[in-house]
Assembly symmetry: none
Homo-oligomer: 404 residues x 2
């Protein structure tokens, strides 16, 4: 497969606009009663009409059978090799939480949790609201560590936060302290196998911090402990703005997606969860950018909650705004998701995603509605998500010919 | 494409069962009179019903246009890169014949043949039965070689045997002595181009052995000579049982397939050629394993013989047992072949294979019968056989999420 540098070498500037609308967790599985997926159940007259004048297909986030997290799934959509460029959860979370991560810092994702008699009884501390999370982070930021080591914790959303350790000789080769199931005690932080002295040293610092955190949170209810996972430093990614000679903006509300957009060099525009705010923000930013990444989260959240009907509604919410997006007359419009989150699985899954690509320069196909089964017969066939970027650039007339 | 190590890193243990049913040489070409392939001609009510509740597709053993031997075709199904992990035919044959192959030994596949006036008149010596083969091997095992070199020959099946040379500094970079066509003399064993001194030395030893063998077999009829091909040492393959954290068993009767299963770390259960014995063995092993490789050979043999009708019957023999396999309630059932063996070609071919994957976690597609043309419209599309393993693991819920 061609790589980003190859595509980058062909990229040219042009006054054309591309919209990538990511309906998070869009792909689904059929409701056994109806045989229809969430998207197929949803009333989507606008997306169906767009599908009829688009070329459609199925995008495979990583590879067949592989269930991706949001990080690699998005990087693939942005044209990066999602395996080679994997960003650790901690680094993503920290960037999303607004912590300016230095290249040597080690970040971890934090869950506030509830511990009773030494065992985790709720890994999400009753899903405490972000405001309580923020107050607890303030308390924890008073913790002092020895040896010129700093620790900064910042709230993400609900019960989630990001924690960053700064100082010399830190390693991110550390195992999670989250036991992944209620009923088990939190794990001590351990260096990964074969990770060497720096990891041992860092694990000691992390365990010291956790001890202090347990002391600071001892009187709290329900959030009286923290679980850490996804220890990671920041990888170096070439910015897509430079690679593809374009001005790119991310329109997203949830910290992780804002972090992803920022990591690949996009500017950010804030817009709340109701999708109408995203459409407003898109229109507002229209004059200033070439590439617009618009992210809609509620489809994924409802899928993870196993709420089929709410996922259907979240899709319909997007559909209602499609005419406004079309009014902007983007040269290229892609509607897809980053990965599937079938409500009946209550989790991300490996299934490929329906995708439509609307431009003046693609052939039409037989697809007459926007859905998993329909798109399986689409003209684009099934392809890896990372192949989308050159297709978008091509349709925006932003790629030179290869070879003479 | 992702590699085995990547998939291995995501694999988890779980009490779920996967069945890979390999109908050898399943893929075919249409009978010109009916326009239907062997599989499409066969009366397969059970496979058709399963196809309707499965997701289907076409699996490509190696790559478009490439006709595989059974070795690489199977390795691909087991998740290995069939090009990088190619096992020489000789090494396979020797393992299948029960010879414990050392890492420095060189093995070759043997055909007993008939030579008249210095020319091969029958490359298969009238398909002598295995018992005669075994008697001839006993005679040949009396041959003494100089310089601390050992030679061991053991019967495979019918006219086929395996021959293993042991000793220091042996090379497997040798050309076949089988002229591939009747009417030509056996070829002397020659080192492959650019293969160096050890190959020259080994060729000398092999030619010495062939001379002795011709002397030993001089009075025999029809098997008065041997042809050698597929010189090979054993490659080192990581066992799939370790890679994917599962207990795996091969249920096969033919030596090569047993050898393949053993080489990738499976236990073996013996079961005869009538497919009902394979189904019995599967049920018998059900409690003890997670991954069941079941092999049916008669489809390939009849295809190679150009016997369209017999291949049809061999397919129907499998179909009859499908209800028993379903009764075991595997979480994942895959039915496919290793490669195509169209009866009208009397040989392996490059054509992709019909495949069905039945699990609770796949989308349904439009395929309503199990056949080449129907599966071409399946929801899995066309994919390389080596991509099957992560799909099976995913549907058995045995793969963790990649990335955060």
């Amino acid at each position: 497969m061609i790589d980003m540098e190859f595509v980058s070498g062909l990229a040219i500037e042009l006054d054309t606009r591309m919209v990538l609308l990511v309906i998070d967790g869009l792909g689904g599985l059929p409701d056994p009663k109806t045989g229809l997926t969430e998207l197929e159940t949803a009333d989507t007259p606008n997306l169906d009409a767009i599908a009829r004048e688009s070329i459609c297909g199925l995008s495979l986030p990583i590879a067949r059978g592989i269930t991706p997290g949001s990080g690699p799934a998005h990087l693939a959509l942005f044209g990066y090799d999602p395996v080679a460029c994997n960003i650790g959860r901690g680094a993503l979370a920290a960037t999303g939480a607004g912590i300016d991560l230095g290249s040597e810092d080690v970040a971890a994702r934090v869950n506030f949790c509830t511990v009773e008699d030494g065992k985790v009884v709720d890994r999400r501390a009753g899903r405490i609201p972000t405001e309580i999370n923020a107050r607890l982070c303030d308390k924890l930021n008073a913790i002092k560590l020895p040896d010129g080591i700093s620790a900064t914790i910042a709230p993400e959303k609900d019960y989630r936060a990001a924690l960053v350790f700064g100082g010399p000789d830190l390693s991110d080769r550390l195992a999670d302290t989250d036991p992944q199931r209620a009923g088990l005690p939190p794990l001590p932080c351990e260096p990964l196998e074969g990770s060497g002295k720096e990891a041992e040293y860092t694990a000691g610092i992390v365990n010291g911090y956790i001890l202090e955190a347990a002391r600071v949170l001892a009187g709290e209810k329900p959030a009286n402990m923290i679980l850490l996972r996804g220890f990671a430093k920041l990888p170096h990614l070439p910015p897509m703005t430079e690679l593809y000679k374009m001005r790119a903006v991310g329109i997203a509300s949830y910290p992780m997606y804002r972090a992803l957009a920022k990591l690949v060099g996009m500017d950010l525009v804030h817009a709340g969860d109701p999708f109408i705010e995203k459409a407003d923000a898109l229109a507002g930013a229209w004059a200033d950018y070439d590439y617009f990444y618009v992210h809609h989260k509620p489809t994924d959240s409802s899928g993870e909650d196993g709420d089929f009907a709410r996922k259907v509604k979240a899709i319909e919410e997007v559909d209602a705004q499609m005419p406004r997006i079309l009014e902007l007359e983007p040269e290229v419009l892609v509607v897809t998701g980053d990965h599937s989150t079938p409500a009946i699985m209550k989790s991300h899954s490996w299934h490929p995603l329906p995708l439509l690509l609307r431009s003046s320069w693609e052939r039409r196909d037989v697809v007459s509605s926007f859905g998993e089964t329909a798109c399986a017969a689409g003209g684009l066939g099934m392809f890896e998500s990372r192949e989308l970027m050159p297709m978008m650039l091509a349709n925006a007339m932003r790629l030179d010919k290869f070879g003479a």
